[in-house]
């Protein structure tokens, strides 16, 4: 049986607002209220059902806002210009051509060969395992999640429970994720906050987000670090 709403419970609208813009007072209430925890669980379930059943709604943003499509006629010119720039300003061998990792998130890839820290856009293969190191600097709460090319969100760390992981300083997180045979881009997110943010807030913010455009994700009250991986067969 669902717990009944109490006189202290926030309204449904306030709970919805909390999912978009988390507030410490509402978070504190939810932590101690069975009714609001049940509301949050059913909200996450409904959001998943909505994303599953109405992919076109969620995909509209991706399809319409694609800058690639808008600038497609200029791509050949841009490619020529980029090639010219690359020839003129080829990086030195010591300098990485891509940002090697997020400052606050490092994704380690293991399972086949020596473990390595993932570079942005690194190709990863089925069966390889991922581990995560975060360095939020000061005491913080952390969620690790991934988003695939369809915008589906997977929760990675902590795998269970209702609260994020408390981390102080740099820490290699417990647990790992093993890659299956699905191909395509996958973005790993670390969501770092001073106050604990519920998983429902994180899931809703990441759900349907364009995998190649991290700038589309904003989680109020939290900062993010991200690494893009390209999943595929060797």
């Amino acid at each position: 049986m669902n717990a009944a709403r109490t006189a202290h419970c926030p309204s449904d609208l306030t709970l919805e607002e909390h999912l978009l813009d988390a507030t410490p007072a509402t978070a504190r209430h939810i932590a101690g209220c069975a009714h609001c925890q049940a509301w949050e669980r059913s909200a996450a379930e409904a959001a998943r059902a909505f994303a599953r059943e109405n992919p076109r709604w969620m995909a509209k943003a991706r399809a319409r806002s694609s800058p690639l499509r808008r600038w497609a006629p200029l791509l050949p010119v841009a490619a020529l210009a980029a090639a010219a720039l690359f020839i003129l300003h080829s990086p030195s061998p010591e300098a990485p051509r891509y940002a090697t990792k997020g400052e606050e998130l490092t994704v380690y890839i293991g399972g086949q060969g020596a473990p390595r820290a993932a570079t942005q856009g690194e190709r990863v293969r089925p069966g390889e395992a991922l581990r995560f190191q975060v360095a939020p600097g000061s005491a913080a709460f952390v969620w690790i999640a991934s988003v695939d090319s369809t915008g589906s969100v997977s929760r990675l760390v902590p795998a269970e429970g209702t609260t994020p992981l408390a981390v102080d300083g740099a820490r290699l997180l417990p647990g790992s994720a093993v890659l299956d045979a699905v191909e395509g881009p996958e973005r790993i997110w670390a969501v770092i906050s001073r106050e604990p943010v519920s998983w429902a807030v994180v899931e809703q913010a990441l759900q349907g987000s364009p995998v190649r455009d991290p700038s589309a994700v904003h989680i109020p009250g939290a900062r993010t670090a991200t690494v893009l991986l390209e999943r595929g067969a060797p």
Partner: protein
């Protein structure tokens, strides 16, 4: 950002909230999806004068509420039965007391006008204060209070007679 892009972003950001709102009132995933489309049409129609981002959730929440109650009203006409709401299907986890409470609430709702239902829903189901409900529906607090009183009086009469 172009109009279309801004609208798409609003849909992505608020889509789940709109769906949840519709599902809570209509309790049927297909009908909730239909209602979401109607809310989307309203967003398209009002795209040039949508409120600023912090107020958009509140705006679509009210629009979704109105759309769902209008849909319930139209469905009731189509089925030629004022009590033909979709809330009578018990969930598998519902206890006997919950089903009985819901049936009693249904009986009360079926006696009310659409305006009374909407006010009663916001205050008694969603947990808004009368002031908040008044603000959401652009009514005076006094009107909301009157509608709640009327709803409760009719409900008591309907239940006890």
């Amino acid at each position: 950002m172009r109009d279309g892009d801004a609208l798409s972003e609003i849909c992505r950001r608020l889509g789940p909230a709109i769906y949840r709102r519709c599902l809570k009132i209509l309790r049927n995933p297909d009908e909730a999806a239909d209602a979401c489309q109607k809310v989307y049409m309203q967003l398209v129609r009002h795209r040039s004068r949508l409120p600023p981002e912090p107020e958009q959730l509140r705006w679509v929440y009210v629009v979704a509420t109105r759309v769902c109650f209008a849909q319930l009203r139209d469905d009731a006409w189509e089925t030629a039965s004022g009590a033909e709401l979709n809330h009578d299907a018990p969930a598998p986890t519902d206890s006997f007391a919950e089903v009985a409470d819901r049936q009693m609430a249904l009986k009360a709702l079926s006696c009310a006008t659409e305006h009374e239902r909407m006010v009663a829903w916001l205050v008694l189901v969603d947990g808004h204060s009368q002031e908040e409900a008044a603000e959401l529906l652009s009514l005076s607090r006094k009107t909301v209070g009157k509608r709640i009183q009327l709803f409760l009086a009719n409900a008591r009469r309907g239940v006890f007679e």
